[in-house]
Symmetry: C2
Subunit: 243 residues, 2 copies
Amino acid sequence: MISSPDNQHLKTIRKLADRRWREKLDLFTAEGEDLVEAAERAGWEPEVLLVSGEDVDPPLLDEVSSLGSGTRVLGIYRRRFSGLGGELSLYLHGVHDPGNVGTVIRTAHALCDGPVTLGPECADPFSPKAVRASMGSIFARPPARAGFGELGGTRVALDSRASHPCGDVPRPAVLCLGGEREGLPDDVLANADVTARIPLREGGPESLNVAAAAAIGLYELRTCGARPTNAGAAPLRRMADRG
Amino acid sequence: MISSPDNQHLKTIRKLADRRWREKLDLFTAEGEDLVEAAERAGWEPEVLLVSGEDVDPPLLDEVSSLGSGTRVLGIYRRRFSGLGGELSLYLHGVHDPGNVGTVIRTAHALCDGPVTLGPECADPFSPKAVRASMGSIFARPPARAGFGELGGTRVALDSRASHPCGDVPRPAVLCLGGEREGLPDDVLANADVTARIPLREGGPESLNVAAAAAIGLYELRTCGARPTNAGAAPLRRMADRG
């Protein structure tokens, strides 16, 4: 039973609160039974697993926890990334909020077969907040890393200035979203195969939260169905902006 | 210029970090230029408005801020609630996370004409975190407060065990969502006019984040169009679960 705050595992866990250390050590933490079970279901072996009261003095585990008091279990895992792929997947550019990144990873796991690809300036998907927001989908479907130029298939850029909703597009397709304020950069918009918008009410907010936009965009794309890439570009379906 | 931490406004702001004080004083705070401007656009007069460096010593404003250092402006506002109504609106039951409540308020403002009605056990929509997540929609569209039994129109309960997506339902319609783990309580499900699910991939997560589910549910309902209540119950449209 670990009873000293100077224990090597506890020191590592403290370091892993910091993105630079997660990248340097190639490790991250997941806290709580739900996440540790999600890791196990997805076949991930923890590098270290600390159960409160069995492996470690409870106050010492609480002290290194990002959740605070009452943490029952904490695992250290090695980071993994997926390759690109899937008939439908997602690309994020400049999404700074780790809660949004984690929520998008969960949503993509629920709605599409490809990974969430993280482009430049995204929050770390392995931060405690992102891992928690993913509700375990980080294990079942680790994110990919790539720039926009490496994406294949039909690249659908969500942009509030576009004139159409996503409609039906040839597969494989990648839905591309930018950060809360900036949106997607001009070079991504210029090189996308389709630009599309989510129709919003007049007089309402200018934009949706990025996780809400990702959910609607994926739902729209999968509901509209798929056609193979070699069928050529599908006409965009125009939908009335009702509500 | 306020230069004492014992200033009455600063004392009030400290109290308003606490839900009980917000309810007792019927006030809440909004921080940052974006939110204060959103309040102004929506015609809200602040009870107190403190601009850093003009009305208050910057370190003193930072000390009472929920954002920490660098807060430029902080307003105290009187709470407001909307009445029920709208052709399409939302009802939340037991949504504990203030970030989700705020995000749902923003999404509803973007996608439907009615308010977000808060049922039992929801996070306070006037907490700093919820106000921030609403991105100002809390001012343009304050939430309503009511129990499920007070809702009128077609009550559409989202439930992962339901067999159909929302499809087309008679208006006015209220989309009802429960909290992350518990979902909607049995009495709500039993009394709903329609139960509907969001089709998720097999093998993926059991559920979506509540803000993602609200976004998709509202999008589905408004995209499927409206028909007047007196047309009677519309048949539920069955959609293939592709993706």
